[in-house]
């Protein structure tokens, strides 16, 4: 050995990313979910069949207000693919609802672009 050893974060993640999902890399709802999808916890208490992992719990905790998939992944420091699988579980159990924010690119409207410009000027 060279005498060089890796410690802590330098050694890389101890757990491979998809270990958290039991090795699943596909979620049944994956096509509904992109980086901009807004996730919000269901308002009614749910008693579903899903056994919640700490990561599921963390998502539910963060999503008490609508949050994008990108923000959830960033906040939890989990890979986006992993978060999508976990969200798929929660969706199947109806513990969350998701919706896409209306992307301005889809229906571009000069009034909205102007609003964006004014917003930026006021920053």
């Amino acid at each position: 050995m060279t005498g060089h050893e890796w410690f802590d974060e330098e050694a890389g993640p101890i757990v491979r990313p998809f270990t958290l999902t039991g090795g699943r890399t596909e979620s049944g709802h994956r096509s509904d979910l992109d980086l901009m999808t807004l996730v919000v916890r269901a308002s009614e208490p749910v008693y579903g069949s899903l056994l919640l992992t700490p990561e599921h719990e963390a998502i539910l905790h963060l999503a008490s207000d609508p949050l994008t998939v990108a923000e959830l992944a960033s906040e939890l420091d989990l890979a986006v693919g992993v978060v999508k699988v976990l969200l798929g579980d929660l969706l199947a159990d109806r513990r969350i609802t998701v919706r896409r924010p209306a992307p301005v690119a889809q229906f571009p409207n000069p009034r909205i672009i102007e609003e964006v410009i004014h917003g930026l000027q006021a920053l």
Binding site: P17, F18, T25, D32, D34, L35, M36, L38, V40, P66, T68, A70, E71, A73, S74, E75, D77, L78, A79, V80, G81, V82, T97, V98, R99, R100, P101, A102, P103, V104, A105, Q106, P108, P110, I112, I113, E114, E115, V116, I117, G119, L120, Q121, L123
Partner: protein, 189 residues
């Protein structure tokens, strides 16, 4: 998909592209609360062969790090900035990132001009409005925007502006210029 009738959320998605080290992270961080974002991507058929991993077939996923920032312009109107992955081997990510994007900023480091060619080609092909931000670096030669336009063989209507990615004010100006260009491009369509 569920839709809640109450809030009308509008999301403006902007990409920040450019070569590795051109200042994408700095730019996103200068105007927004920036956070790192990891995606664990499965290598698709398409990326095999393009990717350096040819011959390492057992590796099925790869981690791509990006930057991601959010600016709330007003209640219900949010601007999202996504720094695209700098390395060429992550091209397979771009289609997902570009989906629903309103426009893009291509950051240019004049010391390594060729690094931004690929991003420019991509946005031109996709028809996504973009502008060029020439990031000022110590030791970079002071080219004029017109020099850069010629060197990059750009259409005359594409704005080329000098910027300092570290400065909030400068980045704000870059984004405002992009929005103006988006508006012009929309009017032409």
């Amino acid at each position: 998909m569920d839709s809640r009738p109450s809030e009308a959320e509008l999301a403006v998605k902007i990409l920040v592209a450019g070569g590795f080290g051109a200042g994408k992270t700095t730019l996103v961080g200068s105007v927004s609360e920036m956070r790192p974002l990891r995606t664990e991507e499965q290598l698709t058929e398409r990326s095999v062969g393009v990717d350096e991993l040819t011959g390492v077939e057992q590796k099925r996923t790869t981690t791509v790090a990006m930057d991601f920032g959010r600016i709330t312009l007003r209640t219900g109107l949010v601007l999202y900035l996504f720094g695209t992955p700098g390395q060429d081997r992550f091209w397979f990510m771009w289609d997902e990132l570009a989906e629903g994007a309103l426009g893009a900023v291509v950051l240019v480091d004049t010391r390594r001009l060729a690094d931004c060619f690929a991003s420019i080609d991509y946005f031109e092909r996709r028809g996504l409005p973009f502008i060029i931000g020439v990031n000022t670096f110590e030791g970079g030669k002071p080219y004029t925007p017109d020099d850069i336009r010629v060197a990059l063989d750009l259409d005359p209507e594409i704005p080329v502006i000098n910027c300092d990615a570290r400065s909030r004010e400068s980045t704000r100006q870059v984004l405002i210029t992009l929005m103006g260009h988006v508006m012009t491009a929309m009017a032409r369509r």
